[in-house]
Symmetry: C2
Subunit: 438 residues, 2 copies
């Protein structure tokens, strides 16, 4: 296969919600109660809902910057490449990066929509969530047919409403929802995935082939070792922190009842998965007589292969061991517009890691697994020949990809050679919050 | 290579401290102030020091039990196989399991000796720690020449005393010390590994070729997803929880100054390491211009290969990918007498995972890496021909390895088929504490 012939679908990207997103989707009489985007005196932006201010309106949306600025937190739309929040620019940036399709997690609502959990007026919030999904499905994804796998957020506090909303978005053609990788963590206080309260949610997802997309950081926050710990160490170990939740999901009893229930581990990487599965199988066998960890005759690794999706940005080791991961479980992710993304060179870096992989396996990894599990069929809409890296890039000759300086909050002084620590980054975020509240 | 010709050194086992351990090592006038082992009315045991009672005197020492009892917490010496705490029985159990050499982490003192951190009388406690190390080095390891790699605990609250104690135990031939995988966690409150206060500790270890052994669970406790989470999930993801600390240690600046400084990641497994190293190298390259994560010209994976040791119990995937881990970094561990250990079949299970591995690489993994890095030379003492699985097992014909019932705290009722959860296991530990306090 040639690089130009790759067809690449990304199951983990992000959208920074544009300021007018609710305008066309909330009833006029409720629009002033929807979350509103404000511009601060210094030109930075913030979202406000009820009495809460969201300072991180563009979390880590640093794509297109010079590398020195990858760690600088954007404070406003003007500090981001337009592709972060503008649909037409996003499609341009997908084209120039050879990305056919994309799942976009939200930003100010958190990756799992958890921002709305502590809201006061739950009836209003349910309406806001519906408007959010209408914007995401009809306006964002709907304006570029065949280019997005729409992703819905859920009213996490009420499983009855969750089921209603899943049915509503399925009717619009949406086949994945975002859900915390661990709903039982302190900050969320929801029942654990093993609580029977969730049963109607599992059922509605299975019956409608709706994939549950769980993104790293939506359960237990990936820990950093100490405030002195270099930020590089935290970035390094962050993705595989989802392994704890992955092990927990393996034992979800609903996976025995619903063959079509699928869990996607977003931004977790793949190279560590064979270790986890061997360890899970060992534990299941060696400890099974006292743990009563019944999986209905399957081993944990079999459960994984039947029900899970994984994805990677750069993961040569995982690709080399793709059969130990599970060739039918692996998807690609771009992580646009976050700092780990390798835009606009994703095809080159991906292609390099695919050396020696047979074409039919490349196709599974780059798009067929995602298309099958997410009920996504771009070929019918666009024609397969228009979906390749080569074809998409041919439409993007006008896109300027030169790295630029955008500004934003800084973890350390300009030109400092001080090693950036977890504490520096926390301080940067706190300064952003201070700015917004001013 | 034949199974009988394997020479196996384990760099992670545990000793349950025997009740009279301080008798021959504390000055007579201080003996009544040393930690003392008491027998409760029901025959169970507990340790007491100052005003603190340690309920978990034999944490997870379940080797030799019927499999149904692996999860039952032993409450006393009578509920454990004697090899957990009795030297002669331990050597028998090593022989029958084909284990030549062993590093034994402590039990009531915690794996990192952290039990002594909050003690009131620090002068007394320093003396207790010296007595503990004298017992461990002179009596436990000393009574079976060539069979143990002695491991010292440290007065963690004072780096000056640490340096003194390291020098003292080095003079006795001890070349490894236990240290928290993350000293900065809340429960310990020590400076992070990046604090310059530790400089004399790094130096004395490097200058004396003393390996810093960090055991999982001594920094951040490996998390469980929720109280409802099956204990099988927790056991599964527990070892790789050390990946967070491993990433942090990669950036220890002392590793640039001291070529001989070595960190051992005990009980962490190995199969996930190639993923972490690729991720670390990517992070170092992709984010380096803003993180200032200077490693003096080496990549993180090079730092790992130069300074780290890893180990595994059962890890076929890791062995298959031994060169991606680093062939000179891998050691074996038995984890006797804990529930993950596969006594007395360690050689069979290890041998099975070594299929296709050349002999000289098998030797590195099974003993040469450990011998070199831990300055351990059993061949001179015992003769190489007496160190093989075959030779050791020939001395153990009298050892009865039949699984037995020992009793102890139960996580769930006898014959219950209820899936054992993290909460069940926590409740079992709490019940043990209640018993001891009575």
């Amino acid at each position: 296969m040639k690089l130009e012939d790759l067809i690449i679908v990304s199951v983990d990207d992000h959208v920074v919600e544009p300021p007018d997103m609710f305008k066309r989707h909330m009833p006029k009489e409720l629009l002033d109660k929807a979350p509103r985007s404000e511009t601060n005196a210094d030109g930075s932006n913030r979202w406000i809902y009820e009495d809460r201010v969201v300072a991180q309106m563009g979390l880590n949306a640093v794509v297109g910057r010079v590398e020195e600025e990858y760690g600088m937190e954007p404070n406003g739309y003007s500090q981001m490449r337009a592709g972060a929040w503008d649909l037409k620019s996003r499609v341009d940036d997908m084209n120039v990066n050879g990305i056919l399709g994309s799942i976009c997690f939200g930003s100010f609502v958190y990756f799992d929509g958890g921002f709305f959990l502590p809201s006061k007026d739950k009836a209003l919030t349910y309406r806001v969530i519906q408007a959010y999904n209408d914007w995401h499905i009809d306006e964002w994804a709907g304006s570029a047919p065949g280019r997005f796998i729409p992703l819905a957020i859920l009213p996490l506090w009420d499983v009855g409403l969750i089921v209603e909303e899943v049915k509503r978005v399925v009717a619009k053609g949406c086949h994945t929802v975002t859900f915390p990788d661990n709903p039982a963590v302190k900050g969320k206080g929801l029942p654990s995935i093993h609580d029977e309260v969730w049963e109607p949610f599992w059922r509605v997802c299975a019956e409608n082939k709706v994939v549950i997309s769980t993104h790293i950081g939506t359960g237990s926050a990936p820990p950093f070792a100490s405030k002195d710990s270099p930020i590089a160490a935290w970035i390094t170990s962050m993705p595989m922190a989802i392994s704890n939740s992955a092990a927990d999901w393996l034992y979800l009893s609903a996976l025995r009842r619903y063959p079509d229930l699928t869990i996607s581990l977003a931004e977790g990487g793949i190279g560590w998965i064979p270790y986890l599965l061997e360890r899970a199988d060992f534990t299941h066998g060696h400890h099974g007589k006292w743990t009563n960890s019944d999986l209905g005759g399957r081993t944990p690794s079999e459960v994984f292969r039947d029900h899970f999706l994984s994805c990677f940005i750069v993961d040569k080791f995982g690709i080399e061991n793709r059969h130990a991961v599970g060739i039918d479980t692996i998807c690609y992710e771009c992580d646009y517009p976050h700092s780990d993304c390798v835009w606009p060179r994703a095809p080159e870096i991906l292609f390099d890691s695919l050396t020696g992989v047979p074409d039919h396996e490349i196709d599974k990894i780059t798009h067929l697994n995602a298309m099958r599990r997410f009920s996504y069929d771009p070929f019918t809409i666009l024609g397969r020949e228009n979906c390749t890296v080569g074809a998409l890039r041919a439409q993007a000759k006008h896109v300027d990809t030169a790295p630029r300086s955008f500004g934003g909050g800084r973890p350390v002084e300009v030109n400092s050679t001080k090693r950036v620590t977890a504490e520096d980054v926390e301080r940067m975020f706190a300064a952003n919050e201070g700015k917004s509240a001013a």
